[in-house]
């Protein structure tokens, strides 16, 4: 049971700088538990105190957003590819500046 996980720049301080790591688990929750065992502190960055995925984190299984596949209960199979990315909609500049302008 091996799942390939792509790690965003912002979380590589936990993986010794590795861009890609391997983990195991039948669900995304299991996988994150396994990754936290390998890289202590990793899970906490992705999951809120209430136990849900952080609002500004997107996780994809084989390029599909897990929030539409059961979120942390999303099923994983051997050979699946998991990608973790911060939420930054296109036009990063535009929204950051606009958010500032509108006082948000």
């Amino acid at each position: 049971m091996a799942i390939d996980v792509r790690v965003p720049t912002i979380l590589r301080s936990y993986t010794g700088g590795a861009k890609a790591v391997t983990g195991a688990g039948d669900t995304l929750a299991d996988l994150l538990t396994d990754l936290d065992r390998q890289f202590p502190g990793f899970r906490e960055r992705l999951i809120t105190k209430e136990g849900a995925l952080h609002r500004f984190v997107n996780v994809y299984v084989n390029d599909e957003d897990v929030r539409f596949l059961g979120a942390l209960d999303a099923k994983l199979d051997d050979g699946d590819s998991v990608t973790i990315l911060p939420a930054v909609a296109g036009g990063a500049f535009a929204f950051a500046a606009a958010a500032a302008l509108s006082g948000r």
Binding site: D65, F93, A97
Partner: protein, 316 residues
Amino acid sequence: MARYDSLLDATGNTPLIGLPRLSPSPEVRLWAKLEDRNPTGSVKDRVALWMVRAAEAEGRLRPGDTILEPTSGNTGIGLAMVAKLRGYRLVCVMPENVSSERVTLLRMYGAEIIFSPAQGGSNKAVAVAKEIAAEHPDWVLMYQYGNEANARAHYETTGPELLRDLPTLTHFVAGLGTTGTLMGVGRYLREKVEGVQIVAAEPRYGELVYGLRNLDEGYVPELYDASVLTRRFSVGTQDAVLRTRQLVDVEGLFVGFSTGAVLHAALAVAHEAVKQGKPADVAFLVADGGWKYLSTGAYGGTLADAENALEGQLWA
């Protein structure tokens, strides 16, 4: 009737065309909604026009006023055209490293441009934008990421057009940026078509774009409501380029890279329907043509070359 009283009246009512060569089977068909056939060549003309009209109706925008929008993309070009024809001044704030085509085009439309230093990234841009806003409290910001008129343009026009032209529609696929297209069309179709699938294709850029210092700097547009979507795909640069080229090669459609990403997701759901033995009419949205992206060099050479050419760029 293809005669209009003015350019603004020619916004919307775009063609929906079948793609018989890319469709997986006669029962599972792909359809492209050609939003590049809008006055300035992108889906954003609908958004620009609706946001300006809404601001006029609310009394926020009066003749001669100045519109401020921090954009270098299609929304800026659409707003520049609408502002010119309706008598407003437009000021765009953009980083100094955007392509020269965009700057030339915006200036031709009479828009003024305030550059923020490329160095310093978005933090610097935010600072610049704050200064401008403080100096000019009377300027009117459209803010497409949180402006409900953005989604409403699609609820009132794009959605009804799709259903009028394709009553058997089963899936709608579009790119996810401000989320306005998917929210507006998605809400409309969900009200009218039982079991319709609303599918998002989100561009996955090179690593540079995701270089936040911490996760709290992340952003989700205020317009976004996940309950409108059925599924959401992340499409990498290579797949987007491959599909963009395939669309020209097989169906003769020359589109921007965001549409390549959308086609990738549309083909995924179409092939699933084939596997399940279900008929499907999958409509997807062509946000713009490829003209503005030719200078990236990503239309020629190998896929690896194209991916390198687009590294670090917001190609959708």
